[in-house]
Symmetry: C2
Subunit: 679 residues, 2 copies
């Protein structure tokens, strides 16, 4: 099924076939270069007897110095040296495409491509093709191993790809191979102090910003980046292994994910790039023909936060959260507002006791005593609301896969079209990393199975996003971040106030984040005396714009929203956008983003700051030139402060046009949320 | 010899002997509290049946939540639970003491102390004493194991001390257990993202700053701090082990180093604390009677930077740096300036080839061919300059110790009174960490042997400073930081411009740093095309004030200083101070420090910034109230910039008094250095 990826060149015009240097002698260096359409980015490839090397320049400055490429095949010599160039092809592609849903409806895909087909010169030569694409906003590069006599089934023992960065830059990174995947707060250090990091990794050099990540991760291991030789500027790909050390078990023909380098003048510009999506394939034609009407962005609430703040339990018993009566309270609230889904965690059998510490016992088609799921689903449907399913696996993938098809079939039968997945645990099936090929392939099966049963996927603790939502439009959003839950129920550490000003510049570059904003009640000390939501109420509102997710949780309890004037913003804010613009921001300091509703002329703006108060001026030139708008402003109150007075906010209405400038006054941990309603 | 530490209570007034609760039943919690003299800091100790716990408050806010204390003895139960209180003693001590040399001549030592003598309640009871001191600027806490029948020779398998921090703060830290000790650029992250860190570790909470470190590390392993249970706020002591996992091999009576918690309103205030020194002992009386006239702070130059920038080699051969002629050039320059010592790296036999990659072959009393050390020493002496010895061990301690006494004897004979040590390598003797007990004890032997031969010690790649210079006044300075050398010869990464604005707040809290400032020639691209000194010339001058070291290198080549007007500041700046004041600063941003010369009424000021230009106002109220001064100002030129124009500087002279305000205009990577010469 994933061979649909091999169709990626279909429909592209072959603009240029270079005079192929077919008899390239292996004893000399062959050089090829590729420029982005705007000529600001330039990649040079060197095929040397001792190996393949690439380098990247941006606006005339070196960004990546000559860096090795290649694959180490288990039991064989490295595939990357002693190669001759068989053929090169170059072409340019430029076309707009439409997202069925997303942060930007129309995306321009414009790149120049260089394909270099290589073959070894010795006995039993093996073949390798490099595909390189240069966009104005970054580079993509991948390995393709064509079908061939001398390389059929094989194991990739190591991917040799390096990134020899030209500058020792400030680097924002998350360590890989810790217990909780990417659920940490980001580290900032010199590049030379990195150890081994997840991607995206974001670097701020003096004259440009860049982010390294991957696109279209299918049937391969996730990429992490390890500093080579301690204290250098060289990052090397470190694929997340199988328990025996294998990195990728595969067979020709195959291709690696794209290795991507986003480059922009400033970090804020990285947020306006669509490189990752552009390096994923369009959906297969049969998928496009299918009935995808079940795929709908929207807001959801759920029985969830009350567990995190210790009011309720996931487990059956006196504090059981999942009950018919409580679910109906959520449904009643949702029905009165623009909330399309209700999640019920702990809805099924098998949550008894410390479920995250043992082999999983969940039963995925049997509701827990006390919750009548059929009744709840019917009640919801009658009120125009849908129930959201929940599959917590406790990282037991083998156990889950035995029930998976039946589980999604059960939801399909009930008319449930959305599921939240969870893989809570330090290892998958006891000995697999959450980011290895084993989990990559499992999660692909989840997405495919869900699609067959017409279910949207919102996955927590799963593999990193690499833009596959373009190809699989039911793959809506995922967590893969230290989310709101840490401010509630984590044993003793909440997120710091700067956390939400960092993640859009890092984790956010990979795709939608189910961060679950919207906490209005900051006093939940009864069970969590040392935890806090480190933001003001206006900051919580702004997160609905700042952090993109097509499924956006409205995370607090209905009784904390009921009658609250500020809830109007959550009611109004869309989850599907015509266009998005990251306007201002510095990593870890502040961020201002504007987005236009897909279904109206209205714009929305979110602005957040870290622990420091700050004033900002925002030009409203993104608004339609001749239109008039009412700006409905939800901002921090005069004495608002995440620590001492988080609830203080005020609502102000002013008339503005595209020529106006908005003055923002953000308090510590604060924010501003604005709806620009066209008049 | 180190038993001199046990004399620490001598000379103290025993102010208070609490009514000892001798029959304390072990089944109840016994609580004790101790306040700092100004009552801002409060420590509470709880002796519970299940263990010992302490907590710390500052200005009424929790800083450390109840945190475990105790020692795990190999082959025995943990020493820390099931204890009864045998006796408690409380006292207050308040006395000034004089440093023979230092950043501050007179230091006030004022603390309240609580000693809690504990004994187990079961059969074969063991005894443990906790000593706790509360100063206005921090807490010290240590374990004492008195001589006893049931605990004689023993191995500490684990020290149980925890620091359960009350807030998830911004933390500046260096990872421990990497290859190059503390020679990395600092990481900044949430506390909850720390892995395992060297000390000092510096935390910035909203309402206070704190640093955790240790004092008086003798015959014990260095402390690192490991985050307990990933993603928490709890740091636990992780002692650097012997190869077999033992932490400390010891015998009663013994005592641990002090575990120290510095607390202050802001990070800048941490720099004005003398907690670490105050928790070290005064020199033993016999040491004070000795002729210590050889111990003299001063500036030194040396054949060193030319190796780092690739002009010369440490090894014999055509690029050999250590030659008689070159040494005399340095001596000639030093003789004309206030430079008291000349270092000659590679002076001895055994540096051939890749010396850092093999077992050491150095001979410590045989000069290399081409260098006549006797002649050079005589030539220097005639000109009033001293040669500084050099012992590079390439981390071969066993090999070095065989020659150590003879090596220092050789220097003593030549009249050499200062030695720079080096332990370049990833492990000591192949399998020992640089920070384990093995190295701690070796380095103590070095200091003792050096003292016996009247030699001052400046050690690189050695154990962390814990304030032992108070007890051993020939222990002058050490590196233990990513120094200037990384801007020259490290394979490919220099320090970033913010590095020097971080290290005084972190590494600098432990003691003097031989950072080796003073580079004037920023163009050394011939051999190091990708390396840079990331600062302006004025910043280099300011470092002589900002970074304290009693032996301060003048690191560039004499020909790069000759005739340079800005060298006057280096000539003038002292290395021994009457008093020091950290005036302004934020970690990683900027720092302004003023120090008064010990031997004149003059003051000096150093101000540095990171990559960002900034303007600062400095009140000169540290100057003597009625005196008049000429401020000799060395500042960045109008277009100065570490990257594009590092040499641009200007010298300005203005008259000022204690009522004046100095306006600083720091350029990117820039600085200002000022001498306030009393008129």
């Amino acid at each position: 099924m994933h061979n649909s990826h091999l169709s990626i060149v279909l429909g592209f015009a072959l603009l240029l076939l270079t005079s192929a240097s077919k008899a390239e002698p292996a004893k000399q260096t062959a050089r090829y270069s590729l420029q982005s359409p705007d000529q600001q980015l330039a990649l040079q490839l060197e095929v040397k007897p001792e190996g393949l090397f690439y380098s990247v320049n941006y606006a005339g400055r070196p960004v990546v110095m000559p860096s090795r490429l290649g694959l180490k095949i288990k039991g064989q010599a490295a595939l990357g040296s002693g190669l001759k160039v068989v053929q090169t092809r170059e072409r340019e592609y430029n076309q707009d495409w439409q997202q069925p849903w997303g942060e930007q409806q129309t995306i321009n895909e414009h790149y120049r491509e260089l394909r270099v087909e290589l073959a070894e010169t010795g006995a039993k030569p093996r073949q390798l093709t490099l595909a390189i694409r240069a966009f104005n906003d970054g580079i993509g590069l991948r390995y393709e191993v064509p079908a061939q006599a001398n390389l059929q089934e094989f194991v990739i023992e190591d991917e040799l790809t390096e990134f020899v960065l030209a500058e020792n830059s400030h680097t924002w990174w998350l360590p890989a191979y810790r217990n909780w995947g990417p659920e940490y707060q980001y580290l900032r250090s010199a590049l030379s102090s990195v150890d081994v990091a997840f991607t995206p990794i974001t670097l701020e050099a003096r004259h440009y910003a860049l982010a390294i990540h991957e696109a279209a991760l299918v049937n391969y291991a996730s990429m992490t980046l390890r500093l080579v030789n301690d204290n250098t500027k060289t990052l090397k790909v470190d694929l997340v292994p199988w328990p025996n050390g294998d990195k990728v078990r595969t067979a020709a023909p195959m291709q690696s994910p794209w290795r991507t380098i986003q480059v922009a003048p400033k970090a804020i510009d990285l947020l306006n790039s669509h490189l990752t999506l552009n390096l994923n394939e369009a959906p297969a034609p049969e998928n496009l023909k299918a009935d995808n009407s079940y795929i709908k962005p929207g807001k959801y609430m759920g029985i969830w936060w009350e567990m995190h703040i210790g009011e309720k339990d996931w487990s059956p018993g006196p504090k059981q959260g999942a009950t018919t009566a409580r679910a109906k309270e959520y449904i009643d609230f949702a029905a009165q507002h623009d909330i399309s889904g209700i999640l019920i965690e702990g809805w099924n059998k098998g949550w008894e006791g410390e479920w995250w510490q043992r082999k999983p016992t969940f039963i995925f088609d049997k509701p827990v005593d006390g919750l009548d799921l059929e009744e709840v689903t019917r009640y919801a449907r009658d009120k125009g609301v849908e129930i959201i399913g929940h599959h917590e696996t406790a990282a037991g993938v083998t156990y889950y896969e035995q029930q998976m098809d039946a589980a999604f079939g059960y939801y399909e039968k009930l008319g449930i079209h959305s599921v939240k997945m969870g893989y809570v645990g330090t290892r998958i099936d006891g000995d697999q990393w959450h980011h290895g090929q084993y989990m990559v392939n499992h999660f692909q099966r989840v997405v495919d199975t869900a699609a067959r049963h017409k279910v949207m996927v919102n996955a927590h603790e799963t593999v990193t996003d690499t833009g596959l939502r373009r190809t699989y439009p039911n793959l809506m959003t995922r967590e893969c971040v230290r989310g709101m839950e840490y401010n509630g129920g984590s044993p003793d550490t909440g997120n710091m106030p700067d956390h939400t000003t960092i993640i859009p510049f890092t984790r956010g570059l990979s795709g939608p984040i189910d961060f679950t904003p919207g906490i209005f009640n900051f006093d939940y000390k009864k069970h969590r005396p040392y935890n806090r939501v480190p933001s003001t109420l206006a900051n919580q509102l702004a997160l609905y714009v700042v952090i993109y997710s097509p499924l956006q949780m409205v995370a607090d309890l209905p009784e904390n929203y009921a009658g609250h004037p500020a809830f109007q913003f959550i009611d109004d804010v869309p989850t599907d956008w015509k266009q998005s613009r990251a306007l201002q921001g510095e990593i870890g300091e502040y961020l201002v983003i504007a987005r236009q509703d897909k279904h109206s002329p209205d714009w929305y703006l979110g602005a957040i700051t870290n622990q420091d108060a700050r004033k900002l001026e925002v030009k409203l030139d993104f608004l339609a030139p001749k239109a008039r708008y009412e700006a409905q402003i939800y901002r921090d109150g005069k004495d608002a402060d995440w620590e001492t007075n988080p609830e203080a906010y005020e609502i102000k209405r002013i008339n503005v046009t595209a020529k106006s400038t908005l003055e923002l006054d953000l308090k510590p941990g604060g924010g501003t949320a604005v709806r620009f309603k066209q008049r």
